[in-house]
């Protein structure tokens, strides 16, 4: 017997968590002598009440969809992939190599190739931790964290010593050729005859992210591989009994996870920066963990959670721009949301379950 209705589980619980997180954020803002109402107004106006705000919110959300899906796929196999940050960074390297060293006549041809590069590099970066976990029992949480640092160090070296154009002081690659620039959502809107989100980075990758959500959903709940991934994630002895090879599934699940994280580079490297810069991922790999947790490891949930975090990112940026609230406080608010929706999930869930049990009893009596 379910303890509470599904809608309460999926919608009400995260919503209450969110309200709690915002309430405490409000207290913190009050404590530093600012107005929480004013802050909320700035955030909502800056992120949601203009097409400009939406342009940024959707751009950030696109990043988080990819890293969230990456965490989610690994989670279903019982693996905690904390390495999204590194995998996305190395995915960026893949995109850069494809776009800089091969001639592309048109973005429509460059895009699939860049996607392959991003996914391949991200997957390869996840392969070593996966193999170590599957064959040597080295814990994937530890190894993926270490690989984040290795990725950062590797990119640092490559950007400074290999990819940096002669004469440039900036640790970044050369800009990608104009033919490979992806259409922005604003361009597409103009093509349809109206102005939307001028000068915002949201681009065609947003639709690829939606496609990725659908494909991941199909993979996990409609394919044999997804069935085996879920079986392994729930019980390894049972998987072995059923003839499912844990080594194989761990490696495959991590390859898919790494590929998804790597695909984020299409959005930020190819779509926005149009060159590879240092620390291009900006923590999106870690936000992906919160997005997957809050999205209850379902692609639809991941999508909604990514939108929320996109809003927080963009709204937070506006807050730093227009108020005296220090930039660091935005990180506090984001951390509170992660804390309440992820780590303290049960704090809300359990009283809520009790409430629904009591309601049901009254209804049944």
């Amino acid at each position: 017997m379910e303890r509470m209705p599904k809608w309460a589980d999926v919608i009400l619980t995260p919503l209450i968590s969110l309200v709690l997180a915002f309430a405490i954020s409000a207290l913190v803002i009050l404590a530093i002598g600012e107005s929480p109402v004013e802050a909320l107004k700035v955030m909502v106006e800056g992120a949601l009440l203009s097409s400009y705000g939406w342009g940024y919110t959707l751009y950030y959300a696109t990043n988080f969809v990819f890293t969230g899906l990456a965490v989610m796929v690994a989670y279903h196999a019982g693996l905690f992939n904390i390495g999204g940050e590194g995998q996305a960074a190395i995915g960026g390297l893949g995109v850069t190599l494809v776009l800089l060293y091969l001639p592309w006549p048109h973005w429509a041809l460059a895009l699939p190739a860049a996607m392959v590069g991003a996914a391949l590099f991200g997957a390869l970066w996840a392969l070593i931790p996966a193999w170590l976990q599957a064959r040597r029992g080295s814990h994937i949480v530890i190894t993926t964290i270490m690989f984040n640092f290795i990725a950062a160090a590797l990119l640092n070296y490559l950007l400074v010593n290999v990819l940096r154009p002669q004469g440039s002081m900036d640790p970044a690659s050369a800009s990608f050729p104009p033919a490979t620039h992806l259409p922005k959502l604003s361009d597409m809107a103009l093509g349809l005859g109206f102005e939307w989100g001028k000068n915002t980075p949201a681009n065609i990758t947003f639709f690829i992210a939606i496609g990725a959500c659908l494909l991941v959903w199909l993979l996990i709940w409609r394919t044999r591989l997804g069935y085996e991934i879920r079986a392994l994630g729930k019980s390894e002895p049972a998987a072995v009994y059923a003839g499912i090879s844990p080594t194989r599934i761990i490696v495959i699940a991590m390859l898919i996870s790494g590929a998804l994280a790597g695909l984020m580079a299409i959005n930020n490297v190819m779509g926005e920066a149009e060159r590879l810069i240092f620390n291009a991922v900006e923590g999106a790999g870690f936000i992906g963990i919160a997005v997957a947790l809050m999205g209850r490891n379902h692609p639809f949930g991941v999508f909604l959670a990514a939108l929320l975090f996109g809003f927080l990112y963009q709204g937070g940026g506006e807050l730093a721009l227009w108020t005296t609230i220090p930039r660091e406080l935005i990180i506090v608010i984001q951390a509170l949301v992660i804390l309440f929706t992820g780590a303290l999930d049960n704090m809300v869930r359990m009283p809520l379950e009790r409430f629904f049990m009591a309601m049901r009893k009254r209804g049944g009596a």
Partner: protein, 525 residues
């Protein structure tokens, strides 16, 4: 506290009046009355899902009853949580132990009952108390051993000691012998009798009639949430109790025609296995099973049966070294580089010993589990996708034919009772019509009605000309179901017997490793 002066308090240890508890539309307990006199062992039996566990959870404060009254020692009491229950002198030994694996026995005993912030005083007091209890009740356990190093039987003793250390007067044991070897169970019963003779009251929840008859003074029978009878054990018999439990007549013996064995299906020659720790688990197993024959492997758990099943099932534990020869219908089976998938394709079905850990994914729905292990079968594929509609339709049929209750394929497997979970596993493996069925502990934790059903299915498979390898620690089950019995001890087959030509005593000797003089099983050692 342990032995209260008798006459001062002659009120029953526990009295329940009209206890009712519903979970949504399910009435788990309906107006339960129960009277447990002080200083007795009181058995509560019933099929899985009869409401025994709910009732005990109410008594231990996990659930609040919807209505009714609880009296402990004659005084009404509201048990709001387990702390209240402990203060009222109730101790509970759960089926699945609640011990910290990497704590010592002593640390586990004082856990939650420390005298103060510093552990030293509590540990000293506990050590002294443990010594006293050990002497008094045969409850010897090394206080400094880590839990993970103890056998299951010893872990259970720690649970009992935990309750006694908290000065429990009433001890509730939930299916205590499910995980014990016969010798350990006997020892447990001696401990329980000792405790009773000291004036403690013991409630034993079980569905094993033999245990009820052997150790209890009184017995109450539950069926579908109701208490249908409470009698003195001396005045009843197993058949009557079984009928009360199920609500109809039950065949305790398996009704089967003589076997008509055909050609050999499985041949095992000199199978040896050394596990990853270098321990020799199988020391040269020779075994042959013919078509239309059930071969039962008797033996105390832990003598290599699990390893034998895992090797035949295609998944020996990682790092194990194997030697020997296995053939299925004349075809040699690979010892190395094989997996369970290949064995299924070769025609071996496998009902594993532990359905909750291996046989089912507890979080999967019933229909997902009905395909488990066969999810790569061609009829379940639809291009790149799995044909979930076909799997579900297949599951609905199996659920109906095996009378799985509730017949809801979308219910998570963990929400079925033990017997119905086992029916899902058996349905899945048997209906694939394997040439050889491996079946381990087919009726562990399964209620009587389901046992009868599962036994019938195994016999039907045999009568259809298939080979069955049965591994069970229940000697009754081995004796009544097998056409031939092989006894395992310490990784060897100690001897083979025909069920009609042997006795429990004879098998017991073999199970203990005592070979009759005319056998040369020891010669090779």
């Amino acid at each position: 506290m342990t032995a209260r002066s008798g006459a001062e308090n002659m009120a029953p240890a526990i009295e329940l009046r009209g206890i009712s508890k519903a979970f949504g539309p399910v009435q788990a307990n309906k107006g339960i009355d129960l009277l447990v006199p002080r200083g007795t062992i009181h058995g509560i039996i019933g099929e899985n899902g009869a409401g025994k566990s709910t009732l005990m959870s109410i008594l231990y404060g996990f659930y609040r009853p919807d209505s009714g009254e609880i009296l402990i020692g004659g005084k009404p009491i509201a048990i709001t949580d387990s702390l209240t229950a402990i203060r009222a002198g109730i101790g509970m030994v759960f089926q699945h132990f609640k011990l910290v694996q990497n704590f010592t026995v002593l640390e586990n005993i004082i856990l939650g009952a420390e005298d103060g912030p510093m552990l030293r005083t509590s540990l000293g007091r506990a050590r002294a108390e443990l010594k006293r209890l050990a002497e008094e009740y045969e409850l010897q356990v090394d206080p400094d051993a880590l839990i993970e190093e103890l056998s299951v039987g010893h872990q259970q003793r720690v649970e009992i000691l935990k309750a006694l250390y908290r000065q429990a007067d009433i001890l509730i044991l939930d299916e205590p012998t499910g995980v014990l070897t016969p010798a350990e169970a006997d020892h447990l019963f001696r401990i329980l009798r000792g405790l009773r003779d000291e004036g403690k009251t013991i409630i034993l929840i079980t569905h094993k009639l033999r245990e009820i008859m052997e150790i209890t003074d009184n017995v109450s029978v539950m069926r579908r949430g109701e208490m249908v009878a409470s009698v003195k054990t001396a005045e009843t018999n197993p058949t009557a109790l079984a009928e009360l439990m199920v609500g109809r007549k039950v065949l305790l013996r398996v009704d089967k025609a003589p076997a008509r064995p055909g050609a050999p299906v499985l041949e095992v020659r000199d199978l040896r296995m050394v596990d990853a720790d270098g321990v020799e688990r199988l020391r040269g197993i020779d075994l042959s099973i013919r078509a239309g024959e059930i071969v039962g492997i008797a033996g105390v758990a832990g003598n290599g049966q699990t390893q034998l099943l895992e090797i035949l099932g295609g998944y020996p534990e990682p790092g194990a070294k194997l030697a020997g020869e296995i053939t299925l219908k004349g075809q040699p089976l690979a010892l190395k580089g094989s997996d369970a998938r290949a064995r299924r394709r070769a025609g071996i079905g496998h009902v594993p010993e532990d359905r909750q850990v291996e046989g089912l994914i507890m979080d999967f729905t019933a229909w997902e589990n009905v395909a488990f292990g066969y999810h790569d079968a061609p009829e379940f594929q639809n291009g790149l996708m799995m044909d979930n509609a076909a799997i579900r339709a297949d599951a609905v049929g199996k659920i109906e034919r095996f009378d799985v209750r509730p017949p809801n394929p979308d219910l998570a497997s963990k929400n079925f009772s033990g017997g119905n979970q086992q029916k899902i596993v058996v349905a899945r493996e048997v209906e694939r019509n394997p040439d050889l069925l491996l079946i381990g502990q087919p009726t562990r934790g399964v209620d009587i009605g389901a046992i009868e059903f599962i036994h019938k299915r195994i016999v039907a498979l045999r009568d259809a000309g298939k080979a069955v390898l049965l591994v069970s620690v229940e000697l009754d089950e081995i004796m009544s179901l097998s056409d031939r019995i092989a006894v395992m001890f310490d990784g060897r087959i100690m001897g083979e017997r025909l069920p009609e030509q042997t006795t429990a005593g004879d098998l017991g000797c073999l199970m203990a490793g005592v070979a009759p003089s005319d056998q040369d099983a020891e010669a090779g050692a």
